[in-house]
């Protein structure tokens, strides 16, 4: 029972930490032309999809739905945007992962691909709604590139702590209780 609560708890702590993430960055980065968006929650969900989920379990997608909605409520006030894009992209990542092995390089590739997809989905939705008015060139240059870079740094930092642990937890879920 306790095992089941650990993963949601970790995700919850990550979502809270994202709020203070920008304070840890030097001010020059924030006040310049660049937008840096910490997608820590998403990175961790990619970890869950690659190391924790079996081919036929969809915990990562479920968590993406729940915590994406939580992110919307706490940080943007526009419900559904992160919920939808996180769940969709994690589902695609989960699908690609079935064809590949779960090692570090695959993880790096999937995370990069995922963040690009996430950013484009969110940019698309927000520009359709009219909350964002910025050309696609400056979006790619000022927001996408630095965001990918910084999130990959986060991925490399947490990789040693999480990959083995998640794989261990994966084997601890009894077959009968798996969610399909």
């Amino acid at each position: 029972m306790i095992r089941r609560l650990v993963l949601p708890l970790v995700l919850f702590i990550i979502i809270v930490l994202e709020g203070v993430a920008l304070e840890l960055l030097p001010l020059q980065l924030l006040s310049g032309d660049y937008f840096i968006v910490p997608h820590w929650l998403f990175i961790f969900l990619v970890f869950v999809a690659v190391f924790f989920d079996h081919n036929d379990t969809y915990y990562s997608v479920l968590y993406a739905l729940i915590f994406g909605l939580l992110f919307d409520i706490v940080y943007t006030g526009v419900l559904g945007v992160y919920m939808f894009s996180y769940a969709l992209v994690i589902y695609i990542v989960h699908g690609i992962k079935k064809m590949l092995q779960g090692n570090f390089y695959v993880l790096l590739l999937l995370a990069t691909f995922g963040i690009v997809l996430i950013e484009f989905t969110i940019y698309g939705i927000f520009s359709v709604v009219g909350m964002v008015d910025i050309s696609i060139e400056s979006f790619m240059l000022n927001r996408l590139a630095p965001t990918i870079l910084l999130n990959l740094v986060f991925l490399i930092v947490i990789y040693p702590f999480s990959s083995k642990r998640l794989e261990k937890w994966k084997t601890e879920i009894p077959l009968g209780e798996r969610m399909r």
Binding site: L22, V37, Y75, G77, L79, G80
Partner: protein, 295 residues
């Protein structure tokens, strides 16, 4: 297999519909958050409050080291300023006394400039940078309402967008647009005050867009100070917003826009004051009267 494929498509389609419905719901002009949202915001706010203390302690140490490098120069400049301020203080005190006396004579006790401060700390900043929102650790329990103005010691930084019981979301000036705007004014001599709206932020030049609505003569100049105006409704007049950097025409050439450099640092915010206008609002009284009529 055919069935499976259509099932996936079906789920994604439903997802899109839910997304559109949710966005539509949240983009409506909501004064208060829903019940569930309030609970979640309160819980997350409580955790953030506990986490924020050690984090700000560490970042505080780093910035302290930075500050120490130029303490000496700063000290000298400040000393000069203090010497100048002594005489200014004397003048201000005199004027204030006189003002109060005169006001008592005509029987006016509260003005649009008076306000009651509510002190708060910033506990988190929205990771979604397009939103330009920060969360503060005071909410409706402490008397905060939506649309109140938030200031720091340097000047205005934004206004309250949403409130829960113990936290509130503040829309920063950098995130202002046609839907989130505030009225502002530039004080000029001889009754030639300039009125307008702060209704946007230009990221490239790092300046606020102050659309000039009413100016008797084209007398806005570089270096003029923009203050909040009492015409905005919920907030007091006379709060500093920023300094005019440049004046341009808008895209149709009909109105003029002043580029205003914000007085407060919008990226390094720790302690803020939420401003509650002391004077009663006639607007609210009218609303109350309407309700009474209906009942």
């Amino acid at each position: 297999m055919q069935f499976l494929r259509s099932k996936k498509l079906f789920i994604i389609l439903i997802g899109v519909i839910v997304l559109v419905a949710l966005i539509g719901y949240s983009l409506r002009d909501r004064e208060n958050m829903g019940f569930v949202e309030t609970i979640i915001n309160d819980t997350v706010g409580w955790v953030q409050n506990t986490i924020h203390a050690p984090v700000s302690y560490v970042t505080g140490i780093i910035s302290n080291i930075d500050d120490m490098k130029n303490t000496y120069e700063e000290n000298q400049i400040l000393r000069e300023q203090i010497a100048q301020q002594d005489s200014l203080l004397y003048d201000v005190q005199k004027l204030e006394e006189e003002n109060e006396e005169l006001r008592e004579i005509i029987g006016m006790t509260e003005t649009v400039r008076d306000y009651e401060p509510i002190h708060a700390s910033v506990i988190s900043r929205s990771p979604e940078q397009w939103m330009d929102q920060v969360t503060i650790n005071r909410g409706s329990d402490h008397g905060i309402e939506t649309n109140m103005v938030v200031i720091t010691a340097d000047g205005m930084i934004g206004k309250v967008l949403q409130i829960s019981n113990v936290t509130a979301t503040v829309q920063l000036l950098t995130g202002f647009d046609e839907f989130n705007r505030i009225s502002a004014t530039i004080t000029k001599e001889d009754d030639q005050d300039v009125f307008g709206m702060i209704e946007g932020f230009d990221k490239e030049s790092n300046s606020l867009l102050f659309r000039i609505i009413e100016e008797s003569e084209k007398n806005v100049e570089e270096g003029d100070i923009v203050y909040s105006s009492e015409k905005g409704g919920k907030f007091p007049a006379g709060l500093k917003i920023g300094e005019v950097k440049e004046i341009v025409s808008d895209q149709y050439g009909l109105t003029r826009i002043a580029m205003v450099e914000p007085a407060a640092d919008l990226y390094d915010i720790n302690n803020v004051v939420v401003v509650d206008r002391a004077i009663e609002q006639p607007q609210e009284m009218e609303e109350n009267a309407d309700e009474e009529d209906e009942s």
